[in-house]
Amino acid sequence: MHIFIHYVLLVVGSALVNNFVLHRFLGICPFLGVSRSTDTAIGMSMAVIFVMTLASFVVWLINYYLLLPYGLVYLQTIVFILVIAALVQLVEMIIQRVSPPLYQALGIYLPLITTNCAVLGVALLNIQLRYDLMEACVFALGASIGFGLALVIFSGMREELDLGDVPRVFRGTPIALITAGILSLAFMGFSGLVK
């Protein structure tokens, strides 16, 4: 029971309180890039959840069973990126096969998950925060759900904004950033929820 609550708090913490997009400001690129329509946002969220969780798992294993024993911690970044890149490639192939329209819609942002700082960020945070394997996976899951949540909410709002009467100068990215800013302010309300 206690360990269960611990995991729940971990998820709440990474998804809501320290939301990767709205609090840590990681993964802004896909957040702005693929939030034009809710459907692509959902697809992107799924891809990120998959990549992030799996990457955390693999990277944790590599870190503790490969890098640490052989004293190669300095290779962390490059190895992590290598693994993440491979995973992203895998996801890309799968999506291209399974859902060509989604593949089309995600476009350049799909391969860009590779350099998505959120994915690398979660992998590095896992190490930094000394999570064990299970915690790392749960943390990554929470973080990616939080990312997906922010992305989907945001895409809904942007669809609405597209139908609105936003002044010409603010249309597109400017209004998206302003909206993200206010959303981020609102999410500040969760601060202090989980230590």
């Binding site: 490969l66 052989y70 290598l82 895998l90 192939m93 799968i94 096969r97 089309q104």
Partner: protein
């Protein structure tokens, strides 16, 4: 150090292996040319090519070797690059530009009633056929401006749209959107246009518009090139831009002023040292603007020249140039 090499190499190898397997399992064969062509296309998704957006058109270009270059918004250079990518010649239509055929601005053409509703000509047309007194005239609510993917047409304060020729790509989106069929595409180098599509009789027009065509057919008679087609259904005559030479005689003769000059006709002059005095130009000139003695350089009477350019086409020595060209 060795470990590092092994670790990176090992991780890379495993990843490569997984990806290799995946590549086989989830194989999809996209044509890379499609992506490249898509990059070359304007990306406005205007639909003028008849396909659902630029991506669909790029797909068609690659898949079907008979697809012509239906996109009107690319320049010749781009067309060449696309042909190069495809490895075949693709047909191109000459560059076109939208032409608005109504001069019934707010002060010249009245309204039958005051309209309240959406600011869209197509919607306005639905209530009592539009508020403009002339049922053929421009409603001026700017649907063409709204749909233009290139920001190339703007409704002025007088309630008439104007085409920004430099931006217009001739995609035809506005042509389709105009509920009154006022806009048509004409070759980019067109000089004159009859700007009225009303088939109303002069009697009806009296109460509706000051600048409507009254079908007097003076322009048809005066045209030396037979370039003005008379339609049978009471519509105003239409200029066949293929035959029009832009002499603008019709502009001068029109009693209603509905024939509009897009650009000032460019008169010609004869380059003396190239002219051999063959007199062909004198013979083709419909305006008796060229004179001279055989075997001596001819001269152009600029007062009479109307810039039709027939002589330029016929001169065997390329000795006649448009004024202004070096």
């Amino acid at each position: 150090m060795l470990y590092a090499v092994f670790v990176i190499g090992g991780v890379g190898f495993v990843a490569a292996l997984v990806l290799g397997v995946a590549a086989v399992t989830f194989a999809v064969r996209p044509d890379p040319r499609e992506v490249e062509i898509l990059d070359l296309l304007p990306g406005a998704n205007c639909g003028a090519c008849g396909y659902a957006g630029c991506a669909a058109f790029a797909h068609a270009l690659v898949e079907d070797p008979d697809t012509p270059m239906a996109c009107t918004a690319v320049d010749a250079d781009t067309v060449q690059r696309i042909s190069l990518l495809l490895g075949r010649e693709i047909e191109v239509a000459g560059p076109m530009v939208a032409s608005v055929r109504c001069m019934g601005s707010r002060d010249r053409a009245g309204f039958r009633f005051s309209y309240l509703g959406p600011r869209d000509c197509r919607a306005a047309q639905l209530v009592a056929g539009g508020a403009k007194a002339c049922v053929y005239g421009c409603l001026g609510l700017g649907t063409c401006e709204e749909v233009c993917p290139f920001d190339a047409i703007h409704v002025g304060v007088d309630g008439l749209p104007r085409v920004v020729v430099d931006r217009c790509t001739g995609c035809g989106t506005c042509v389709d959107a105009c509920p009154r069929g006022i806009i048509r595409l004409v070759p980019r180098d067109s000089v004159v246009e009859i700007r009225c599509v009303s088939s109303d009789s002069p009697r009806v027009m009296k109460g509706t518009c000051d600048v409507g065509c009254i079908k007097c057919m003076l322009c048809v008679g005066v045209c030396p090139f037979d370039a003005i087609d008379v339609s049978s259904d009471g519509m105003p005559p239409v200029i066949d831009q293929g035959r029009c030479h832009g002499c603008s005689l019709c502009v001068d003769v029109c009693p209603r002023g509905v024939i509009d000059l897009y650009m000032v006709p460019r008169k010609v002059s004869i380059v003396e040292d190239r002219c051999i005095g063959c007199s062909i130009c004198e013979q083709v000139c419909p305006f008796d603007a060229i004179s001279g003695e055989p075997r001596r350089p001819y001269v152009v009477d600029l007062d009479r020249c109307r810039g039709c350019g027939l002589c330029v086409e016929k001169c065997p020595k390329d000795a006649i140039v448009r004024v202004g060209d070096a």
